[in-house]
Symmetry: C2
Subunit: 213 residues, 2 copies
């Protein structure tokens, strides 16, 4: 039986809207969904494993990956590059696994425009309110006020790109939003493009028509 081809699931949102929690829950929910492992030029931190947390690359290696069209998307953050290598994603979706991308609108645009763009399912998570978004960032208590202010500016920019996505969920209630995410992914798998086995099923039905008494 032919495997379905996996989906590239893009999940974007301003930070604090619940994206990380929802992503983790998705991975736990279905072993057929895995995170896209990013490549980066930054140095590995204590305990980080190459190929699991990141693919650690030199600047030269990263540049040649980009030049050879082997990155689905990439961006520069200060002095370092980050990006999503195409190879592992292609391998996963050809084996019938979905790959989850926790990326921003710029990454989303690049992945949609890539060779694997037609396999993209993109979902944007909106916060119920901006005060709530700011409150969540502050209660994390991991960032300075300056960093939070910067995130809020980036959030506004991020939110402005919601119309580029297939689906938008307003994350009022985490359980409800997670339920909707599962509904979207479950439905998408019932599309004919996600059921290559239909060709064989219909061939069998036709043979049965021929073989009837």
């Amino acid at each position: 039986m032919t495997n379905r081809r996996g989906l590239l699931i893009i999940l974007s949102s301003p930070s604090g809207a619940g994206k990380s929690t929802l992503s983790k829950r998705l991975i736990e929910w279905d072993p057929d969904i895995s995170f896209s492992v990013s490549a980066t030029t930054r140095k590995p931190r204590e305990g980080e494993v190459n190929g699991q947390d990141y693919y650690f690359k030199s600047h030269n290696e990263f540049e040649s990956l980009v030049k050879n069209g082997e990155m689905l998307e990439h961006a520069q953050v200060f002095d370092n590059f980050y990006g999503s290598p195409k190879g592992p994603v292609e391998y996963a979706i050809n084996a019938g696994h979905d790959v989850l991308f926790d990326i921003d609108w710029q990454g989303g645009q690049q992945v949609r425009a890539s060779a694997l763009g037609k396999h993209v399912l993109s979902i944007f998570i909106l916060p119920p309110s901006i005060l709530e978004l700011e409150r969540r960032l502050k209660t994390r208590a991991q960032d300075s006020n300056e960093v939070i202010a910067g995130r809020m500016v980036k959030s506004r920019d991020e939110i402005s790109h919601w119309p580029e996505y297939d689906f938008v969920l307003v994350n009022d209630d985490l359980n409800e939003t997670f339920g909707r995410l599962k509904t979207i992914i479950s439905a998408e798998r019932l599309r004919i493009s996600q059921q290559p086995e239909l060709v064989d099923i219909v061939r069998t039905l036709n043979n049965e028509f021929e073989g009837r008494p």
Copy 2:
């Protein structure tokens, strides 16, 4: 708040695959889904109500509806015409209701090609096997062997059009298939095209950004 625009839900299948039961369950499940009432030139039967069971039309009336582009699809069956009038469907979807079409591939093609084609969600139901399909037609015990044989020929033709649909469900188990139908419709309503209220939601979020202390 802006209403979402309803969907034209096309459900097609060979007869005996479970389409009628699934349609009835959908209508019961969600009061926002209603059947498209067909127009026909055939005479009303005992107890049939105009505008509820059918819109009963004279041949002349029907022809002028077709000529004026007021039928989403139509077909001739022996001496009578049957079809789906556009007006009531437009009215329903503009009020945020989904309209369910129990039509064959020929009707499906016409509705997709119509002015409302971009609001179509189309689902094809396959039987688990042809023997099972024939068994179901026979146990209905309402048709002669000749009629059943005719239906089987039509079934084969109908099945050959599965690739024209958005989704295909193999109806192995009625409850499971119904669950999948609900999943597909629930997911479709989360598409940005089905959530016109997002524009207002994002406007409110932007105002909150402006108004922060």
